[in-house]
């Protein structure tokens, strides 16, 4: 899932300070399950903003809406009429959701109420950890299902480094050393021989280096009518 956290109330309040009517829009997918942008979080932020502004003597109308996914047109299109009634939209979606709303409703200011952090998972209740950086060329087959790109501070492909201490990373003792985990996993799977082979430098051209990426599936695109029979 995409993991995000709510911005401090003060920061959100500053973004909407010039407005009188705001629509807070949550997202029912990733940010709902990481408890930052679901129905309850929308209600919490909306009530907090209304109260803060009420106390300051500048009442703010904050209404609440939620869509199943802010990152797909079919889910956000039904908001069109509602959005027009507000000075601004406060998105409790990830960065993708904010941009989708902004692109779909160009005449309305769309503001981010969350900071998007990473792609990850809950390692235990109330704790989320990064697991993937979308490098575009997965090597988890070679590392026993443990990703050195997202979980090694140095993104090493031939680890561990000298900073691995008792299974922890020198950068942060809270963080498990990815290469220590990879080695333990390889031992359990009887695959340590494969780890002794030197991994050549990674080709990062599939990652962010070439700018924003795009995935194309011709078989899924809407056919153009002029493409006639053969």
């Amino acid at each position: 899932m995409i993991v995000a956290e709510t911005k401090p109330l003060e920061a959100v309040a500053r973004m909407v300070q010039g407005y009188d009517r705001v629509l807070a829009v949550g997202c029912g997918t990733c940010v709902t399950v990481c408890f930052s942008g679901g129905r309850k979080e929308v209600a919490t932020l909306a009530a907090s903003l209304r109260m803060k502004r009420g106390i300051e003597g500048k009442p703010l109308q904050v209404d609440e809406a939620i869509v199943q996914r802010q990152c797909e047109w079919e889910y956000i299109d039904p908001l069109a009429d509602q959005v027009r009634q507000y000075d601004a939209v406060l998105s409790l979606g990830c960065g993708v959701g904010v941009q989708a709303l902004a692109q779909r409703f160009p005449g309305t200011r769309v503001l981010p109420a969350l900071d998007t952090l990473f792609m990850g998972m809950p390692s235990e209740q109330g704790v989320w950890e990064e697991r993937c950086q979308a490098c575009g060329a997965c090597i988890l087959d070679k590392t026993g299902g443990i990703c050195p790109v997202s979980r090694c501070a140095k993104q090493l492909f031939n680890g561990p480094c000298g900073g691995s201490r008792n299974g922890r990373c020198e950068v942060d003792a809270q963080v498990l050393c990815a290469w220590h985990l990879i080695w333990e996993r390889a031992e359990a799977l009887g695959m340590t021989d494969a780890l002794m082979e030197l991994e050549p430098p990674k080709d990062w051209s599939t990652s962010r280096d070439g700018g924003p990426r795009r995935m194309l599936r011709d078989d899924l695109r809407v056919p153009r009518e002029e493409e006639g029979d053969e």
């Binding site: 401090p8 109330l9 003060e10 309850k40 209600a43 919490t44 009530a47 907090s48 209304r50 109260m51 803060k52 009420g54 106390i55 300051e56 009442p59």
Partner: protein, 145 residues
């Protein structure tokens, strides 16, 4: 603060302890302030951040959350979850500009009727010293206290 300020305090009470304790206080002729408006819950673990915020938004001057003693929750950890939410809420209330002290959580048993009356009285006095909820003048509930 003016002496005639009569606070409204919403008390979210677990039915297994505090709600029964409030009942016992009444049955024992132990008075507690009429400012206390009790909402019965199956467990304080049922309380949500939004419930408390809406109570304040609708004009409550204070909120009391009363749950079971540590280790005595009928649902094992409901009172502990409630405590964590109260800590979060107190910080949020400060950010909002409402004093976090307006919210308090207490832990009692069903047998502690007198203690319930004492704790309820203490919180009402605390809220009275903080003055009216500044939102009272703007909420839909309307008129100033």
């Amino acid at each position: 603060m003016s002496g005639d300020f009569q606070p409204d305090v919403v008390a979210f009470c677990c039915r297994h302890c505090a709600y029964a304790a409030a009942d016992l206080a009444g049955g024992s002729r132990q008075s507690y302030p009429s400012a206390i408006k009790i909402v019965e819950l199956p467990c304080t673990g049922r309380i949500d951040v939004v419930n408390v915020l809406h109570a304040f938004e609708d004009g409550a001057d204070g909120v009391l959350i009363a749950g079971c003693l540590s280790g005595k929750c009928h649902y094992l950890k409901g009172n502990l979850y409630a405590r964590q939410r109260v800590d979060y809420l107190r910080a949020l209330l400060n950010e909002i500009g409402l004093d976090g002290e307006r919210l308090r959580m207490v832990n009692i048993s069903a047998a502690m009727g007198i203690r319930f009356a004492e704790l309820a009285g203490e919180h009402v006095e605390r809220v009275r010293s903080l003055g009216p909820n500044p939102l009272r003048r703007t909420t839909k509930q309307g008129a100033p206290a």
